[in-house]
């Protein structure tokens, strides 16, 4: 281990290195480009940086940054629920990283949202001006806002320990269970409601993806994304921040991968089942023969059934590498599902030349946002007690 840590320690970004490491340079470039596009977008309007049009009001900033982003940030509630509600203490070391990823995820979603909406400074209007209570978007907005706060509070224990504010920290810790339950409730609501957003457009979304079960599909797949994301993230952070991890963390992380892998596999199986049921209740079998049907099968078999199986194998053989790669595949799959619902299978009636294809600057912003996430994550884990327990607070739980 120690030797591995040393290797990781040599990795070019450790804070004690000079500022111009390869990572910093590339990240820097991306950030600069991002900032430039930012200026363009807010000075010139959406038209200058996006390919959005009247038929495609939502592009990848919604389809990827928001839809996929929120789904992938589900790790927070899944893990904390597992540990605090279901009392699986052996995964405790996974909670903080998960919460952190969740928190960053949501924070970045909100950031991305500021780019997408026409008048971002009005984002609080639904709460302070008029409440469009019949809109599922209102429900999503409310939950995301609340949940972001919850996540912040949950996460705040780390910086508080870092800053050594014992009292405040202890208050937060005492709230843990309450916050967790809150978190689960809110997540259930908005994860599903993201899917429910499309219930109002049955004539635009391809029947294979449109279903009365959309909310359920989205909620279940978000759990899958959450579990996989935890494995994925822990793999990465272990590779680069092993020197930051304490004994417990290193000890537990294999167990985490195996346990979460098993869970993910199980949920994937269930997800696959209900997807099939979805086809049958609307009697859409015949559509599977069409081109969109083929695409649907790619998603269902390649990114649901396959990972489900791979996870199972990985767990049976205790094959961590397989599990880790599968987690990547799964994360990709869920993201793909969101893109399908939001963009690809949407407006499927339109002739191909009228369909939307993102402008490079849109992709630029998405990459920029992801990079931001990585940077902040790195900043935090290299300073705060995320991957290890703060010496003063052993037996904290």
């Amino acid at each position: 281990m120690s030797q591995e840590a040393a290797v990781a320690g040599k990795a070019p970004f450790t804070p004690d290195r000079s500022l111009f490491t390869r990572f910093n340079v590339i990240a820097g470039i991306i950030v600069i480009i991002g900032l430039v596009i930012t200026i363009l977008r807010f000075s010139g309007g959406l038209a200058t940086v996006t390919n959005l049009d009247d038929n495609y009001p939502w592009g990848i900033w919604i389809g990827f940054d928001l839809m996929a982003g929120v789904a992938l940030a589900a790790g927070g509630f899944v893990t904390s629920a597992a540990v605090y509600v279901f009392g699986m203490k052996r995964y405790h070391s996974a909670v903080r990283p998960a919460i952190l990823t969740g928190f960053l995820g949501y924070a970045l979603v909100v950031v991305a949202l500021h780019y997408d909406v026409g008048r971002p400074w009005r984002l609080p209007y639904p709460f302070i001006m008029q409440q469009g209570t019949t809109s599922l978007l209102f429900e999503v907005a409310a939950c995301v806002a609340l949940y972001l706060t919850v996540l912040f509070v949950e996460f705040s224990s780390a910086p508080l320990e870092w800053l050594g504010l014992k009292k405040a920290r202890n208050i937060v810790v005492r709230l843990t269970i309450l916050l967790t339950i809150f978190g689960v409730v809110l997540s259930t609501l908005h994860q599903s409601s993201l899917g429910a957003l499309f219930l109002i457009a049955p004539s635009k979304l391809h029947p294979l993806w449109y279903s009365g079960y959309l909310p359920v599909f989205f909620f279940i797949s978000s759990i899958i994304a959450g579990l996989s994301m935890v494995i994925f993230e822990s793999t990465l952070s272990h590779r680069y921040f092993a020197h930051k991890m304490d004994e417990t963390h290193l000890r537990e992380k294999e167990g985490v991968a195996l346990g979460f892998g098993k869970a993910a596999s199980l949920v994937l199986a269930g997800y696959f089942a209900i997807k099939v049921i979805g086809i049958s209740v609307d009697n859409n079998w015949h559509l599977l023969g069409t081109c969109y049907g083929a695409w649907f099968l790619v998603e269902l078999l390649g990114f649901v059934a396959l990972p489900c199986f791979l996870y199972a194998v990985g767990v049976r053989d205790k094959n961590l590498t397989l599990i880790k790669w599968t987690s990547g595949l799964t994360v990709f799959g869920v993201a793909l599902n969101r893109l399908n619902v939001c963009l690809i299978a949407f407006n499927w009636h339109l002739p191909s030349d009228e369909k939307y294809f993102p402008h490079w600057m849109e992709i630029g912003i998405s990459v920029f946002v992801v990079t931001l996430g990585i940077i902040v994550f790195r900043f935090i884990v290299t300073r705060m007690p995320i991957l290890y327990e703060h010496p003063d607070y052993k037996d904290g739980h």
Partner: protein, 43 residues
């Protein structure tokens, strides 16, 4: 009671009430849980 001419108006009203209730429920639940369990310590 008010008369609604569109389902839209009706839902705007009823869902509005529902949201308020939900807030109340969330807080109430927490409170009630404490009330339910604050004597558990000494057993």
């Amino acid at each position: 009671m008010d008369v609604f001419y569109t389902l839209q108006d009706f839902m705007t009203y009823t869902k509005g009430v529902t949201y308020l209730l939900m807030a109340a429920i969330l807080l109430g639940m927490a409170g009630f849980w404490c009330f339910l369990t604050d004597r558990d310590e000494d057993e």
